[in-house]
Symmetry: C2
Subunit: 365 residues, 2 copies
C-alpha cells in the first residue's frame, strides 16, 4: 500500500461532514460514595421486591435470543394496569426514547411546534435534531402556562405536566381545552412526574385521537437504571408511532427491561407506599424550606424548585456541593436563582435542612 | 367544555403530519416452542456462565439510580479486550443503535454515501431516516465488492464485512485500500459476524482517522436479548460520535447491559469454545449442503446463504417452515433464490439436512 497519509493539523474533510451539536450537560453522577444525591430526581427507595425476585430468578440463557420486539409482556402489563387496550400502548428505552420517537412521528408540519420557554431541556434538542421548527411561549411570572399561547396556529404541542424543572401542575381542564382546540395537531403530555400527586391526562385518550400521554418507570417506580418509558394514545396514533419505530429499529428494550418492568406493575401496594412516603417527605420539606426563607411554586413532583429570598441560588448550590449534597442548578435566564432539589429520604432531607439552616444563620440572613 | 369533536372518516389534519414510512419486516419470532429457529442468526448456545453468575447476583436496588451514562465498566472492558484506549470505544443499544448514530454523526455531505445493493437491510432505512443521499453499487455475480465503485466521489461508505446476508468476506487489503483512498470520508465497517472466522479491520483504526469498526454482542457472545453493540475508531471520531449521542440522549444502555456485557468479555475461554463449535458445525453443514446440490458463497459467518441447483428457495422455505424449521428468505431481486440458514447446534443442523435430503429425494431431484 503506497497511499500517503494525510497529517495536516487543520480540520480534515471528513470532519467537516460531522454533525455539529451543542453537547448536553446531564446532572452530575458523582463518583464519591458519601454524597447525598438530590440532583437527578431519582427515587430514594428501591424498586418493588417483586422486581428484586424476578431479577434473582432471571434465566441468563434466554439472552441468546432477541427480545420480543413487541415487548408484549410489558405492553400487556401497562394496558391492564391503566385499563386501556394493548394497541394503545407504545414502549421505549426510557421516556426520552418515547418522546424523541413521538417528535419524529408526529411533528412533520412546516408550522412551528409549541412548548414553554422553561420546560424539560430536551424538547428543543429533539426539535433541532429532526429539523422541526418550534416556538417557545413564555410561562408567566408564576411559571404557569398562558393558555392563549397554545391556541395559535401550530405544528404540534408538547407540555410537561407537572412541568420540569418548575414542579407546577396545570389543571386537567386547561390541558383538555388545549387538546380539544388543537385537533389538527398532536398534543404530547409528558407526565414523567405525574404519580407524585398530579392529575393525569389519560382520560383524554379515550375522547381525543390527537393526544399522547407519556410516562416513565424512572421516578415513581424507582427503575431509572432500567430505561423504561411508555406512551398511551389512540389506537391510530400508537399505530403510527410503531410504524416509525419498527421502520428503523426492531429491537430496543432488552429482555430484563421487559420482564422486570412488567413485574413492577404487579405490586401496586408497594408503589403506593413508596410514592406516599416521597409525597409526605416533600410536604414536610416544603414547610422547612419556607421557614428558612425559600419560595417555590407548589410542587406536584418528587422535587422542589426553590429560590431563597436573599442568598443567590448559585452560592447555595456551591455550598451544598462542598458539603457533599448535590442538587441541580440551571444557569439560564429566568431560573438562575432557583435550585431544583430532589426529594430524598427523611434523613437526607433533614441533613439538607439542617445544613441550610446553619449556612443561612452564618451568613446572618 | 363545549368544543365539538371532529368525527369525519377521512384522514385528519394531524394524521397528514405523520411521518410516512415503509415498515420493516423482521425475521419471524415464532410463538411455537418446538420450532428450530434458524432465521435471525442467534447463537445456539447460552452466554458465558460468568454472565449467568452476574445475573444471579444482580442487586435490583441499584436500579433506582440512572445507569452510568458513560457505561464505563463496559467501555473499559471492550478497550482492554481489544487493546485500544477507552476514548476509542463507543457503546450503544445493539449495533443497530451504534450504526444509526454513526450515520447521523458522519454522513452530512450532499454527496451520496455508498453501500452495496445486497447488504444489511437497514442501511438504506437509516439513510432515508436522516435524509442522507445514497448510491448502491452492485455486488458482482459472486456477491463480491467491485473495488472501483468505492473509489469514486462519495459522502461516506458503509461495508458489512463479512457481508449479510451473503456471508462473504472481503480481504483486509481491499478494505484498507478503500479506507486509505477515501480519507475525506468516514468508512464504516460493520463487523457483526467477524468473530466466526473473518479478519477484522480493527488494526486500521490505529492508522486511519476515517474508519469506524462496529461489532455486536448479539451473535458470537450470545447476548441478542441484551442489546449491546459498539464502535471502535480514532479518538477524534469517537469523540464526535459521543457529542452527537449525548446531545440528545444521556442514558441508553441500562444497568444490566453494562454489567453483564462487561462480564462476557472476561470469559475468553468460553467465547472461543462457543465460536469454535459454531464454526465446526458450519463447516460440516457446508459439506452436507453441497452433497444435496446446494451452492453458496464461502461463509465467514454463523449462517450459510444457499441456493439449490433445481428447487426454488421459496419452495424450500415453505417446506421447511411447515416442518417447524424457520430459516430466512428475502423476496428481493438477485437473492430471491437463496435461503439464509443460521448455524444452530449439531442436532438442529442434522434435522435440517435430513429433512432436506428427504424432501429433495421425494421431489426426484
Amino acid at each position: 500500500m503506497v497511499v500517503k497519509m494525510k497529517t495536516e493539523k487543520q480540520i480534515k474533510e471528513w470532519e467537516k461532514r460531522v454533525r455539529r451539536v451543542v453537547p448536553y450537560t446531564p446532572g452530575e453522577q458523582p463518583r464519591r460514595q458519601d454524597v447525598i444525591k438530590l440532583n437527578t430526581n431519582e427515587c430514594p427507595y428501591p424498586p418493588s421486591p417483586l422486581v428484586e425476585r424476578l431479577a434473582a430468578e432471571f434465566r441468563a440463557e434466554t439472552l441468546r435470543l432477541y427480545p420480543d420486539p413487541d415487548a408484549s409482556e410489558l405492553v400487556q402489563g401497562i394496558a391492564g394496569y391503566l385499563g386501556v387496550d394493548e394497541e394503545q400502548v407504545f414502549v421505549g428505552v426510557g421516556s426520552d426514547d418515547v418522546l424523541a420517537m413521538a417528535f419524529l412521528t408526529f411533528f412533520n408540519s412546516p408550522k412551528p411546534i409549541l412548548f414553554p420557554d422553561i420546560t424539560y431541556s430536551f424538547y428543543d434538542v429533539w426539535a433541532d435534531l429532526f429539523r422541526i421548527p418550534y416556538r417557545r411561549p413564555k410561562l408567566d411570572g408564576a411559571f404557569r402556562l398562558v393558555k392563549e399561547d397554545y391556541l395559535k396556529e401550530n405544528g404540534g404541542i408538547v407540555i410537561a405536566n407537572p412541568n420540569a424543572p418548575t414542579g407546577t401542575e396545570e389543571a386537567p381542564e386547561l390541558i383538555e381545552e388545549i387538546v380539544a382546540r388543537n385537533q389538527d395537531s398532536m398534543v404530547i403530555i409528558d407526565e414523567a412526574y405525574v404519580d407524585f400527586g398530579a392529575r393525569s391526562a389519560l382520560p383524554l385518550v379515550k375522547r381525543y385521537e390527537n393526544v399522547l400521554v407519556v410516562q416513565t418507570f424512572s421516578k415513581s417506580r424507582a427503575m431509572a437504571g432500567m430505561r423504561v418509558g411508555f406512551a398511551v394514545g389512540s389506537r391510530k396514533a400508537i399505530g403510527y408511532l410503531k410504524d416509525v419505530k419498527f421502520s428503523f429499529n426492531s429491537y430496543t428494550l432488552n429482555a430484563p427491561s421487559i420482564a422486570w418492568g412488567a413485574a413492577s406493575l404487579r405490586d401496586e401496594a408497594y408503589f403506593r407506599e413508596t410514592v406516599g412516603r416521597i409525597v409526605a417527605t416533600r410536604e414536610r420539606t416544603k414547610g422547612e424550606l419556607a421557614r428558612l426563607g425559600f419560595a417555590f411554586p407548589d410542587p406536584r413532583t418528587n422535587f422542589i424548585f426553590a429560590s431563597h429570598k436573599t442568598i443567590p441560588a448559585r452560592e447555595l448550590f456551591c455550598a451544598l456541593k462542598e458539603e457533599g449534597i448535590y442538587v441541580r442548578y440551571f444557569d439560564r435566564p429566568r431560573i438562575d436563582d432557583y435550585l431544583r432539589i430532589t426529594i430524598g429520604t427523611d434523613e437526607q432531607m433533614d441533613r439538607v435542612i439542617s445544613f441550610l439552616d446553619g449556612y443561612i444563620k452564618k451568613r446572618g440572613m
